[in-house]
Symmetry: C2
Subunit: 339 residues, 2 copies
DNA sequence: TGAATTCTCGGAAACGCTTTCGGAAATAAA
DNA sequence: TTTATTTCCGAAAGCGTTTCCGAGAATTCA
């Protein structure tokens, strides 16, 4: 089976290649009949236009680059899947690269994608991304970019973020309202914006309810189960286990629960635990984990829409879209019966 | 900042574009000094070769397409990450597409990747993939393809598989040796090769130990936690809970454990459970889940190596590489103390 | 019926690179 | 010094498209 080209069709039909090209691109003048004829024979021959050649002569590639810090956790997997769903429906293809939480790899990924002439980029920066001038340059050079979470406020590009402050506030307040006296927050890596935002929400709730500083604490854990376990081990060693934990994400919460149980603490009877960025595990573990679900699907779709807007308009807006979630209260943070 | 081309360098240095091209491609005759000069000024100018143009004039794109059925579970995420690691080190870039367990989407993905001139494909077919003639054609047309798991034996291409029979045999034998009298296997979707292989291993162990057919059963569940839960609900309704379950994967096992616990069964005291294709959750849940770990990293790397071999040799071999795993025995399947 | 428009379409350049061919310059052999 | 080799490089075609320009044919308008 040959790879037919536009030229093959042209010679076969005894027309010029430009006419054939016109038949495929609506924007030029061509008689309806010739167009139909060309399209039909092209189809019969099994002709597939060569996207590489197309990319070379046009500017656009109909490819969108997506860079995520990882996709071993469900969160970014869901984002990528939703992104793909939307962008395919708009005629784009997405190329996914993951940075392995490595800043250098992230820049390489972005570079690779730009070299491959993607029409735009959706970037969820890796934890340590501090090199903002790099992104500033890219934007100034006219590369359409939309950022997803974890991003520095100052970047002049559309940003899709989750309202971490608000929902972390709710989660904390939920614990306060149940009269857990001492509440610790296990936070993420400190250079992440999500970390500081969730801390902010946590503190806000503490202030609102006038909780004494003796009764809460913020401890940097990380984002992995392992890191949650380590913190709990330290606390147990220091005989410093509070009545409740609010964790930066589900993995840390699950690690914490594991270590607590191993050491004879019952959850939630002795210690309550709340997670964040709900995963499918929340419903599967015992006790079921209270957590905050992020609307990954909507967030991804919005990111896609904004990117297409930037691409089409040619100018980068600077709007920040803030999303809200759902707080699923489950057994891990409720002593009595669930309503 | 301009996008420099080979031509810009040529005019600046007053050489021909072919000379500049030669400087970048080792295979041609060029004086060492001119080459160094060109390379240096190119670097100074910040020249980046245009991969699209390169693809058009050469045959190869240095891109590898990867198609997986999903990456919401850790398994394929790990595979993709390892694949990326290896292929990047070999100078390739990978383009990942997921088929959402949808056969039609899978064919679209493959088509898109081929159109985009990937040099080769690594495909983990989706559950329902029955359309083998499609792949046969692709291979006959000379597309380098390596298959990963789940694949029909008859396809004449390199295949990377896990030794499901053997390890499912071990898992089952482990349960038998502990004198669980009745053992049920919760299997996957029936058209999957992994499903039938794990069933085969299960049966083999039963036969070896001469277990009566009254004492074991194979029930089709699926691959999701939800499906594991549903099966357990049915069994409970029929008062048909065995002493032990061997599940097709961890998610089904976790779903099963959840439902069992909800209905008052203790794991492993009343019912033992073993999973497969170990996930990070195995160690985090209570009781910790016995499971079989697949060497995803090695499998992915091997797939990459074989693909490069096919690409370079130009001929598709037909070897099947079978991998072995590790059986991590944990609390969920052991009544007494773990050694 | 002749002039002015409007439709269609072919020719050709362009996108940025690779690669073959052949010739000039440099080197080695005679 | 002349001839034979080798080394290096420029010219140009080619990869498969798009798209500008302009010309002939068809149509409309006086």
């Amino acid at each position: 089976m040959k790879h037919y080209t536009i030229k093959d069709i042209a010679t076969k039909l005894n027309v010029s290649i430009s006419t054939v090209s016109r038949a495929f691109n609506d924007k030029y003048d061509i008689k309806k009949e010739t167009k139909d004829l060309i399209l039909k024979t092209a189809k019969d021959m099994g002709y597939i236009p060569n996207p590489i050649a197309k990319k070379l002569s046009q500017k656009r590639s109909l490819n969108i680059g997506v860079v995520v810090p990882e996709f071993i956790n469900e969160y970014y997997s869901e984002i990528v899947i939703a992104l793909q769903e939307f962008l395919i429906s708009e005629g784009y293809q997405i190329l996914v690269m993951q940075s392995d939480e490595n800043e250098e790899q992230e820049m390489k990924n972005v570079q690779t994608l730009i070299k491959n002439m993607v029409d735009g980029l959706i970037i969820a920066p890796t934890a340590g991304t501090t090199n903002m001038t790099y992104y500033l340059n890219l934007i100034n050079e006219g590369n359409p970019i939309v950022f997803l979470n974890r991003i520095n406020e100052s970047i002049p590009a559309p940003k899709i973020v989750f309202n971490n402050v608000k929902w972390s506030f709710f989660a904390t307040e939920h614990l306060i309202r149940q009269h857990y006296e001492t509440i610790y927050h296990l936070s993420g890596y400190k250079n992440l914006s999500v970390t500081s935002e969730r801390i902010e929400g946590f503190k806000k709730a503490m202030n609102k309810h006038k909780i004494s500083k003796d009764n809460y604490k913020i401890i940097e854990a990380g984002l992995l189960a392992q890191e949650g376990m380590e913190v709990i081990e330290d606390l147990i060693f220091n005989h410093d286990i509070p009545n409740a934990f609010f964790c930066v994400n589900d993995m840390v919460a699950l690690g914490a629960i594991k270590k607590l149980k191993e050491n004879g603490y019952r959850v939630p009877e002795d210690v309550a635990v709340v997670g964040f960025t709900e995963t499918r595990m929340a419903e599967l573990v015992t006790p079921q984990l209270s957590s905050i679900k992020q609307p990954t699907h909507d967030m991804a779709k919005k990111a896609g829409e904004l990117l297409l807007k930037v691409i089409k308009s040619g100018t980068s807006s600077e709007e920040t879209i803030i999303f809200n979630g759902v707080f699923n209260i489950r057994k891990s943070s409720v002593k009595g019966d669930l309503i």
